[in-house]
Symmetry: C2
Subunit: 185 residues, 2 copies
DNA sequence: GCTCACATGTAATCCGTTACATGATTCT
DNA sequence: AGAATCATGTAACGGATTACATGTGAGC
């Protein structure tokens, strides 16, 4: 079985991104928030995929600038489709330092606990803004190609950020409501 | 700076779990869904933390069974508190194969797309059930020690699963509503 | 007697990021 | 002329999982 990142690459090539650089750029504005990839993975993986006969690369320099463009082979198409259709377990991993700190935050004074929630909130707000900024582009691409899934996942991402932001707000209200009134706050 | 996993260990020791085995057990029923850790990390990290003077271990065998129990040193307490209070960026990473597949699912027939959503939904339902099963224990521990944060993060986890389950449901309705009516479905 | 929970650890391996190195082209 | 973008790659490192190896104690 191929690595998940290999499938990301196959999928991005099917979407029309053909160089390592383009694949990385698209990942950064689309799947990054639920599946990231770096050059250190992409270029070696492209090489492996070519050796395995799932993609073919051809030199397509633009002027004197080197440029290697990839396409899916029939075997590559098949591997991608097989992965998409295969039922079975889906890797789901979350690493969230904000929640982790909050988990241990009973030893902190209330104001520090609230500040932690603020920092966490701000972080998700930042990511949300990033996603909202991409939305028009995703919307246009959706119309252009008649592909709705990427737009839907972006909208999921925004709703997901909203969910966490809402939780932070709600919890902050709850914590401050319980606390005795303090001067100056 | 220590690794995040080092802080998990320090935090768990402060919560009263003293052996590597106990730390791992508690991680598995509490932080696992937003910060996992394996024996392969925990035991070597305990050794490093002891060498760094943040924890002290003493042999407390139960019968002939070896058992090494750890406590925080003052330096360990301080390192933990410093991390909890330090503002700054919070690591947030998500790897979600369900969303990734859905992102590329425009090439699938509608029924396969819907099935993917089902699989994803089922997975989150399974995790939700796990969390709900732990809830009574977390509730009891919360009362016993007067620590509410662990319970709140568990409740966040359940709400988070519900959020994704709800998204799957909503999207499935949307996709099937758009589709032309089919015999037998 | 068997199985499960308690308990500790290491080695191989995988996955992924970061930093570095290099150079061309396009836009301002 | 300089900055940003396009473009390709590797090496070092770090973080984490998996599999293995070993053994005790408690309950059925």
């Amino acid at each position: 079985m191929l690595s998940k990142t290999a499938y990301v690459i196959l999928g991005m090539i099917r979407m029309g991104k053909r160089t390592g650089y383009e694949i990385k750029s698209l990942v950064d504005i689309s799947t990054r928030h639920f599946w990231a990839a770096s050059y250190g993975q992409i270029y070696p993986e492209l090489k492996r995929l070519e050796e395995a006969g799932l993609v073919t690369g051809t030199e397509e320099p633009s002027g004197a600038r080197q440029r290697r463009a990839f396409e899916l082979t029939p075997a590559g198409e098949e591997a991608l489709d097989e992965w998409l259709r295969s039922g079975g377990s889906l890797v789901t991993e979350l690493r969230h330092e904000g929640l982790l700190r909050f988990f241990f935050s009973d030893w902190l004074p209330l104001e520090d606990q609230v500040e932690l929630l603020h920092t966490m909130r701000a972080e998700h707000q930042r990511i949300r803004a990033e996603m909202v900024a991409i939305h028009p582009t995703a919307d246009a691409m959706s119309d252009e190609h008649g592909r709705r899934a990427p737009l839907l996942t972006l909208e999921f991402g925004i709703a997901y950020q909203d969910f966490i932001i809402g939780w932070c707000d709600q919890l902050e209200r709850r914590l401050t409501a319980e606390a005795p009134a303090r001067a100056g706050s």
